[in-house]
């Protein structure tokens, strides 16, 4: 019943949204998240993008766009002077700023953090609709989904690998089941040892107890190498014994588009099953 209600609401909002956007597809867009910027480029709508954050570095052309602040701290005044007709905010945008922009009369759409691969795809489709590029978006999503399916088939019969993903040190921070990063691990034939943890803060002792076969560290600049050294002290860990601690680009792991999801997933399959060295 509950699912039914949710589905209908989603359907209705989509219909409503498509109705609204069919009336006026925005021509001056500001993106407040790196992955949204990347998706706008994927949808070949970059000429409509008039501003993005300083973290939007991919593709390289995005560096040339006007910068309106960081992902978490935007400059409302700068946004206003760029005269956008649509601002796309993420879950990291401050609510006060969103409110302010709306008050001034700028249309703001908020994209929540995707919880799984499916949500990444759905958001991408929604963006396609907003940008009047739905067919292209659907095409890209279908290809990505097909590839993911193929990878899943390939990894289904391989032995499962226990994985610990570290995205922050001090306190040790990991990814739980309600993030799309969990999909990366499961799709590539791994088990996320922190899947059922309530929050991302995870104790080192629990890692020792779970004894993961692989530890993946998302780059935190120089810290990642330091963290690797710290893990190496625990010689009883399987991951240490077999020298299977990997460092992976946080960009790839933490802000994916349907396309980069597939790329990162392929890399992870190599890491988990074929001892691939980067």
């Amino acid at each position: 019943m509950k699912r039914c209600v949710i589905l209908t609401t989603i359907l209705l909002t989509t219909i409503f949204a498509s109705f609204v956007f069919s009336l006026s597809s925005p021509q001056r867009i500001i993106s407040l998240g790196p992955y949204i910027t990347e998706e706008i480029y994927l949808l070949d709508a970059q000429d409509k993008l008039v501003g993005c954050t300083v973290y939007c570095r991919r593709p390289p052309d995005a560096e040339k766009k006007e910068k309106v602040g960081t992902v978490i701290q935007i400059n409302t005044e700068k946004i206003l002077t760029l005269k956008p007709d649509l601002v796309i905010a993420t879950a990291l945008t401050q609510k006060k700023d969103i409110e302010k922009l709306k008050k001034i009369g700028i249309k703001v759409i908020e994209f929540p953090s995707p919880k799984n691969f499916n949500e990444i795809c759905n958001q991408f489709l929604e963006l396609g609709k907003i940008l009047d590029r739905y067919d292209l978006a659907e095409n890209i999503v279908q290809k990505a989904k097909a590839k993911v399916l193929e990878i899943k088939r390939k990894t289904k019969n391989l032995a499962k690998v226990k994985v610990f993903v570290e995205v922050g040190s001090n306190p040790l921070f990991t990814i739980t089941g309600d993030s799309f990063v969990n999909d990366f691990i499961e799709f590539s034939g791994g088990i996320n040892i922190a899947k059922d943890a309530k929050t991302g803060i995870y104790s080192r002792e629990a890692v020792l107890k779970e004894n993961p076969d692989v530890i993946i560290i998302a780059t935190m600049g120089i810290l990642a190498d330091k963290e690797k050294e710290i893990w190496k002290k625990y010689e009883n860990l399987n991951a240490v014994k077999n020298n299977r601690i990997y460092i992976i680009d946080a960009y790839k792991l933490c802000s994916p588009t349907p396309v980069s999801f597939v790329e990162t997933l392929e890399e992870l399959v190599n890491i988990l099953h074929f001892n691939y060295e980067r």
């Binding site: 300083v54 006007e66 910068k67 309106v68 602040g69 960081t70 978490i72 701290q73 935007i74 400059n75 409302t76 005044e77 700068k78 206003l80 002077t81 005269k83 879950a91 990291l92 401050q94 609510k95 006060k96 700023d97 409110e99 302010k100 709306k102 008050k103 001034i104 953090s113 306190p171 921070f173 309530k198 929050t199 991302g200 803060i201």
Partner: protein
């Protein structure tokens, strides 16, 4: 006496002029520079243009809020320092800010802000602040007497307990919620809601007027409680009302703009050093200079590394702290 009045009038004049210069500076700088000359034509003919919107929707609300919060915090600082006869006391010492943070933390963790809108954040913050004020207050009253030293100790201890509680909540909360809490704590004058800005403005002006009922009492209290009593001051009532006044000013400020440090500590000292310890002039001059200081800091915070914006607390701390240390080391001031 006449000389003194003239002297004070000059000081107030100087502070008002400084304030006006800062306001004009703040109005004209930003990603789009709007020269002063253009203001008047903008006001009458600019409606609908981007510059008009920048001025009226972004800069003026921030300046008004900066004025109100800066004034309120400095005033609260002056009053509390006078009340406790302790130079280290500032508006956040007594756990009021911790209470507000706790209110906001709980609000965000229980997702009330998602259901009731972000307007519920200042309200829950204020509720937390009020609860702590009442708690500190009732714990410090012994046999009908408000014990000032105990009030201070209990307040400091409570603020430690609260900060641990807040850490506890943050440690077990979701990462998405965490970000909301941290940004709220950092403090910001970018308040979208006009009602809150007007409310804060009203509260701080009212607080200033109200504080003047006690300027003689504060002067007397600076000699000591017993001496004040001999001078005919109703010490008990004065202490209570002053504590409540300063707490309310702090509570409103913190729940609307988050924690903006240093204004309430540095500005009062600066004024004491510059103008003297007479509360008749100290109250208004602290208010005006606190307002100007915060507006200036906020202007720097939003323009210093364009297009990025810094949290205003970064500037108040660095600027206020350095000026303060410079003055202390330069002159042998009496705290």
């Amino acid at each position: 006496m006449k000389d003194k009045l003239v002297n004070w009038a000059i000081w107030i004049g100087i502070l008002v002029i400084f304030l006006l210069i800062i306001i004009i500076f703040s109005l004209s700088v930003g990603p789009t520079d709007i020269p002063f000359k253009k203001f008047i034509s903008l006001i009458f003919k600019g409606k609908g243009s981007v510059e008009y919107s920048v001025l009226f929707d972004i800069r003026i609300p921030r300046i008004l809020l900066g004025f109100a919060i800066g004034g309120a915090l400095s005033l609260a600082g002056v009053i509390l320092q006078g009340l406790f006869r302790n130079p280290l006391v500032e508006p956040y010492t007594l756990g009021i800010s911790g209470g507000a943070v706790l209110g906001v933390c709980l609000n965000i963790v229980f997702q009330l802000d998602k259901n009731l809108g972000i307007i519920s954040l200042p309200f829950s913050g204020f509720l937390g602040a009020i609860l702590i004020i009442l708690l500190v207050y009732s714990l410090s009253i012994k046999r009908g007497i408000l014990k000032i030293n105990e009030l201070l100790l209990i307040g400091v201890m409570l603020s430690f307990i609260l900060s641990s509680l807040n850490m506890l909540i943050m440690a077990v909360s979701h990462i998405q919620d965490l970000q909301g809490v941290i940004f709220w704590i950092m403090g910001s004058l970018a308040e979208p809601n006009w009602f809150l800005i007007k409310l804060m403005f009203f509260v701080s002006i009212l607080g200033l007027l109200f504080s003047y009922l006690f300027c003689h009492a504060l002067n007397a209290l600076s000699l000591g409680e017993e001496e004040a009593l001999h001078l005919g001051i109703n010490v008990e009532i004065t202490k209570r009302l002053l504590f409540i006044l300063a707490s309310l000013l702090t509570g409103f400020s913190v729940s609307i703009a988050g924690i903006i440090g240093f204004v309430g500590l540095a500005v009062p000292h600066f004024m004491r050093n510059l103008i003297g310890n007479d509360y008749r002039i100290l109250l208004i001059s602290s208010f005006l200079s606190g307002a100007g200081f915060l507006i200036l800091c906020d202007t720097l915070a939003r323009t210093i590394i364009l297009p990025l914006e810094l949290p205003v607390g970064v500037i108040t701390g660095i600027l206020g702290g350095s000026i303060f240390i410079y003055i202390i080391s330069k002159k042998q001031i009496k705290l």
